[in-house]
Assembly symmetry: C3
Homo-oligomer: 237 residues x 3
């Protein structure tokens, strides 16, 4: 089958990730992907429990949001047979994203990025593959965002900051200038990091934490000012 | 008198609410309304005390910002005799807003919304009547904003969040995905609410509070992490 | 030499200040200025130590970012001989900015402002000379921003707030309505100030501080809620 470069597969099927990006992506999405040989079994009642929103999609009968949902650990090969050679990996866990990105690259799948029209990128920023810039995110002058990073809505990364692969930054987080965030770290909602700090690989910054000192790898901090509350024993980063 | 659908009355006359929206509303405002039979008696000296701004309007001699100020508990009937059949209620208290919205609806007054040009609304959001989206506010994918809600400048409501009637959200507050905010709750400046939480009816979230657990109805929380500091005895919600 | 009004000199040469504004300023920059008779001696190795960003400019051999760097305490006179009569002072310290602004004014140098295209200014705001509005900053209705103020990325100043000369506001700070900030005060990253408060001259608001009471002049506050942690003994404001 001939390739249709325009069409894109989204790897993931959660409403706040793949579902959300699908709603505004400026490229035609043809498939969703569940990167496992076991199809997702989502109980519609349990999935909606505790949710107030009236509209919430879940995968059903091999489809998600009206499109085919491919369930396979070997999804890149399946996409290629469908003539799809572009994908965007939208899994919640940073290491999961990097694993699937590596798989896609090995299979010759091109990884695209997603940038909402309301995101702002300042001059000389460097943006890697498979980076998602959600609505109203802000990337500063000469900031560097590596592959597989998700910058959520309203989060801002100021000048000369470097965000390594697989990092996830939640809504409204604020990183001042010259901040370095290590691989697969996670910055939760509304956290604040002052300038020139280093956040280690796999570190977790709690929601609303005010970080005024470096954070060692694999450490969880929270509070104002942020203090270590946990060493993360099982981090894969 | 024949109706002029284009003209709008703003219910309220405070500078940071009705005065502010008047400054950028993209519809022609013909009247302000004080929803009481007693005209407001504002002492110009006291009103400006402690304010540094050089320009600050107050109602004087039945006018506000150069327009007639109607003082009547039965303002919808008066507007109808003036040929005005559209209004926007801009009172600071959520229950006061809902009371006047109900009065307007009963009188056949259409309630309009106000959306600043710099606000961002993501796909599939549902926005009710008499909702104000101030400058740089952000409404997420499939978020639902009910009637009479005010979302202040720079505040962001992420995907699938539901904001019930009469809620007031102050500048810069950040609500992550799948948050439910009950009727007439108030979220103060810069508060942060993580995903999937429920904020009860009439709850008050203090400025800068970092909310990481559900908040019961009628409860005030503050701090990082947010903790209850008060039960609100007189809430009308 | 005849004057070329279009060309501008930037006073300062730090990457996060003059370098950053140079990257997006919508006016032609012809010179950078180091306002001292002693040329800056920056060790390239030391300057880059601890920085993760791959691109970082420093002054070398009398040039910065490909343009001449004038080193002189009497820089306005030198600029005039070069036919430059417009400048923007971008020094980190507020009082240093005001000192150089005064020098420039005395020499008949016009001080320009810098407003990033993504900044939002609401109606009836008053913006002084030499004010920098960084990306995504927000200036509210009838807010007043005096000369020499820097409003960093994503910071928001709400309605009727007054920011006096030489104030510096860091990224993501949120000032609600009717706030008064005294001369040369500094508001650090992500700080929150509720409405109607007064921040004294030379006060310092720590990163992420949640300010719910007035702050006296020359006082440093931090925390949630913000509490005084220091009197600033050497403030020049």
């Amino acid at each position: 089958m001939s390739e249709t470069p325009g069409r894109v597969a989204l790897v993931g099927w959660h409403e706040g990730l793949a579902g959300l990006v699908h709603a505004w992506l400026d490229q035609p999405v043809s498939h969703f992907v569940h990167p496992s040989d076991e199809a997702p079994a989502v109980d519609p009642v349990a999935a909606r429990a505790g949710r107030a929103a009236s509209r919430f999609d879940i995968p059903q009968a091999g489809r998600f949001k009206g499109l085919p949902l491919v369930s396979s650990a070997n999804w890149p090969a399946i996409l290629r047979t469908e003539g799809i050679c572009r994908a965007l990996v939208l899994l919640a866990d940073g290491q999961d994203r990097l694993d699937q990105i590596a798989l896609a690259r090995a299979a010759g799948i091109e990884l695209i990025g997603a940038r909402h029209a309301s995101a702002t990128i300042l001059p000389d920023a460097i943006i890697g593959d498979n980076v998602v810039l959600h609505a109203r995110s802000l990337i500063g002058y000469r900031a560097e965002i590596r592959a597989g990073v998700i910058i959520n809505s309203g989060a801002q990364i100021d000048h000369h900051s470097v965000i390594e692969e697989g990092v996830t930054i939640d809504p409204g987080a604020i990183l001042a200038g010259n901040v370095h965030v290590g691989r697969c770290a996670r910055i939760h909602t509304g956290a604040i990091i002052i300038n020139r700090l280093s956040i280690g690989e796999g570190a977790v910054i709690g929601a609303g934490a005010v970080v005024i000192r470096d954070v060692p790898p694999g450490t969880t901090v929270a509070g104002n000012p942020a203090r270590p509350i946990m060493r993360n024993p099982n981090t894969r980063c």
